[in-house]
Amino acid sequence: MFFNSLLTNFAALEVGQHLYWQIGNIRLHGQVFLTSWILLGALIVFISLGTKKMENDPKGLQNLLEFLWDYIRDLARTQIGEKVYRDWMPFIGTLFLFVFVSNWGGALIPWRLIKLPSGELGAPTADINTTIALALLVSLSYFYAGLSNKGWRYFEYYVHPTPIMLPFKILEDFTKPLSLSFRLFGNILADELVVGVLVFLVPLILPIPVMFLGLFTSAIQALIFATLAAYYIGEAVEEHH
């Protein structure tokens, strides 16, 4: 009996259900785009407000944005290195902000209150498509960074200490995007599921610490994703001697 009611409750979580948009031949996960547009729109509005009137003595929002900028710069500089971090800072920062805003937006906003015909709104990063897209962008970026900075010498990296490393380094090119995408996807989805299950089982108080844990995980995941992306780019542009 109890098991049955549990199942019906789980069914209400609608795991793996999507709001499909059909455009011609292609199919899209509509709920991912809806939440990402709302969250990124909010992010862009927030940033435009903060940078509307830039002053030499920062006030209010500008202070916060400058702190954020400084944080991202430090992250990019320590991982990529003094020489080329400037070129990659916007990309690293965008990754960080996108993942952070998506994770926190998914965790903080009660999307469940909005009923969709199919699937439900949630963090865009809880969809495998988003995280793979981000991870593939990171892969392309570090290839591009390595090739544009060192030319064909970039491939020295594959045989760097000894040619024995070659198969492992080639394997790394596949494991990097795989681990990046699945780490983020798994963490955020797991967090959403845990909170969802707990809310259905014990609707009072108990989910709150888990929600805080979720916020913590979300922020950490954003930091990890951006740091690893920067580290991969840094690894690609690093000069071996």
């Binding site: 793996g16 990124l40 862009i44 940078t51 916007p90 498509n129 897209a133």
Partner: protein, 153 residues
């Protein structure tokens, strides 16, 4: 169990990869450009301008401080030399006045001695003159007495 259709083969499922992926990638690239022009560039400009301003001011202040220290040292040596110069002048003046005093004293002593000597000589000459006159008068008187006695006899 419909809800746990994780690996949903045809429709739905957690690992349902479709055109969402490339579109999301394009969206993220677009977001990178938007954030670059809205956020990273303007904030970077302001922050770096301020950092340059601050570091320039620090350098300038350091230069000024070293200049001040140099001037201070300069003034200190000047003060030192002025002090020794003043000391020298004071001691010179003291010596001078001492010398002058001694000269004046000697001169005055000499003068006093001279006038004393002169007075002594004068007194002496007058005394001898008076004595001469006295002895002459005594002679005259004795002669007169002698004559008188002779005449009476």
């Amino acid at each position: 169990m419909l809800a746990f259709n994780f690996f949903g083969a045809t429709e739905g499922g957690l690992f349902d990869i479709n055109a969402t992926l490339p579109l999301m990638a394009i969206q993220v690239v677009a977001l990178t450009y938007i954030l670059n022009s809205l956020f990273f560039k303007p904030v970077g400009n302001v922050v770096e301008k301020r950092e340059k301003f601050v570091s320039n001011n620090i350098i300038e202040a350091k230069n000024k401080l070293s200049e001040v220290k140099k001037l201070e040292a300069d003034l200190l040596t000047q003060l030192q030399s002025a002090r020794t110069e003043a000391q020298r002048i004071v001691s010179e003046a003291e010596n001078e006045s001492d010398k002058l005093y001694k000269e004046a004293l000697e001169l005055a002593n000499n003068e006093a001695n001279a006038s004393k000597e002169k007075a002594r000589l004068e007194i002496e000459s007058q005394t001898s003159a008076a004595r001469d006159q006295l002895s002459k008068q005594a002679d005259d008187l004795s002669e007169l007495i002698v004559n008188r006695l002779i005449l009476e006899k």
